[in-house]
Symmetry: C2
Subunit: 260 residues, 2 copies
């Protein structure tokens, strides 16, 4: 009997989050009524409080898992990128390479991460629409802030990896680095807002990511000239990359940029 | 006596808009009280309605002139750019050049326009802060929408000037063109939000404008390859520009980009 009660509880919780999702999307957070949500889910208002502490808590449980999924995709992408940087640094300074790092021989580039993200967003399209319409909710505001900080941290990490002096240049002042991360977050939001289906969104995201990447390399080039680095760190990075165990040289997007 | 009464009326109007500006900035539009504004201006509430129809009208009169000024700077910049394009087209197709166009022999580049805008924004900093804090007001929302459309129109005009086929490419789909204009509007807002004084803001704006410009040229390059244009239209544009009456070749920002 306990297991059966648990199964029912799970069902009730799912019915409530589904009903809440529709209600929030139709009427906004402020305009939504817990009474209506319970009625739609066929649950008493009292029962709702067995599962959720408050309207805010209910909202958070509706959008939380999808936001967590998006964050984990980005996290995994950056973790891989950092692992590649660590590996490349080992190659560059002639250190012995830990075998775990040598095994990272696939280059999952930024575009792959963007494609995954677009796919996830379209798979969870109703919830994502709700998230985009609720940017004033604390959890959502925090999420976008954290996303920007995550990208910012990665940019700083990348600059330090190439040459720590880069961060002292005018091209990579704190405001520029912050802008560049906000721009990437805004790009994803804009893509989702503009495109009606996943294929169109992916195409748009690829165009915009290319544009953003080119703007980053332009700043990088200026910064290198400012501190007197011969050639760009980007080139040095590419040369070493060609030596990676599974390295096939540049991923397409960088090849395009290199010939631009 | 009539003249004197008019002078008083002007003074009263100015006192009211100043008081309203502070009140709106301190308490937001919704939280502002007309009674308090009148008290601060030393005017009866009844007298306020001799000058302004409503709270919204008062708000519009506070922010309107500064927004008009910003719009006129952008308008003038684009009008000059279009005039240069018309002139260059005449040179290119061997038409006789109207003397009014031949007189446009100074290249006031995008950076000059950005510098003017930053200067104006810092000269009217209190009002601009109010505008940025009131993006939900109808006049402000319309203003930013119009600004984006103005930039969008200019981008389309520029693409058509280079080669009308560019707009049929994937790199310049309607969403990309829209994104690029929103990005420019957001850049100006971000600069104002991030910098505490005009010099710092100008420096930041120059970095970001360079980055945005580079992203545009990357897309341009892709689009040219897609429709099979040899060399970029940007280069063709530069070559003709060198023949302009007062032409000094490239303005600095394009020189930087060309060597990137």
């Amino acid at each position: 009997m306990t297991r059966r009660a648990g199964a029912n509880a799970d069902e009730t919780r799912v019915r409530l989050t589904h009903a809440a999702s529709s209600e929030f999307l139709d009427r906004g957070f402020e305009g939504s009524s817990l009474r209506r949500i319970c009625a739609a889910a066929g649950v008493t208002t009292g029962a709702l409080y067995c599962f959720f502490e408050s309207k805010e808590d209910l909202f958070n449980k509706v959008v939380g898992p999808t936001m967590e999924l998006i964050r984990s995709v980005i996290d995994a992408h950056y973790a891989k990128e950092r692992s590649l940087m660590a590996f490349e640094r080992s190659v560059r300074i002639g250190e012995e390479i830990p075998s775990t790092q040598a095994n990272v021989n696939l280059y999952d580039d930024d575009l792959d991460a963007i494609r995954s993200m677009v796919r996830i967003m379209f798979e969870h399209r109703e919830v994502v629409r709700l998230v985009l319409a609720s940017r004033e909710r604390p959890l959502v505001a925090t999420f976008f802030g954290e996303l920007a900080s995550l990208i910012e941290g990665q940019t700083v990490c990348l600059l330090d990896f190439w040459d720590p002096r880069l961060r002292t240049t005018r091209a990579f002042g704190p405001s520029v680095v912050r802008w560049s991360s906000l721009q990437q977050v805004n790009m994803v939001l804009y893509v989702f807002d503009s495109a009606t289906e996943a294929g169109e969104a992916t195409e748009l995201a690829v165009q915009l990511a290319t544009a953003i990447e080119a703007s980053f390399y332009t700043l990088l080039d200026r910064a290198c000239r400012e501190i007197g680095i011969e050639g760009s760190p980007e080139q040095a990075f590419m040369e070493v990359r060609a030596q990676w165990p599974g390295g096939t040289g540049l991923p397409p997007i960088y090849e395009d940029l290199a010939t631009t």
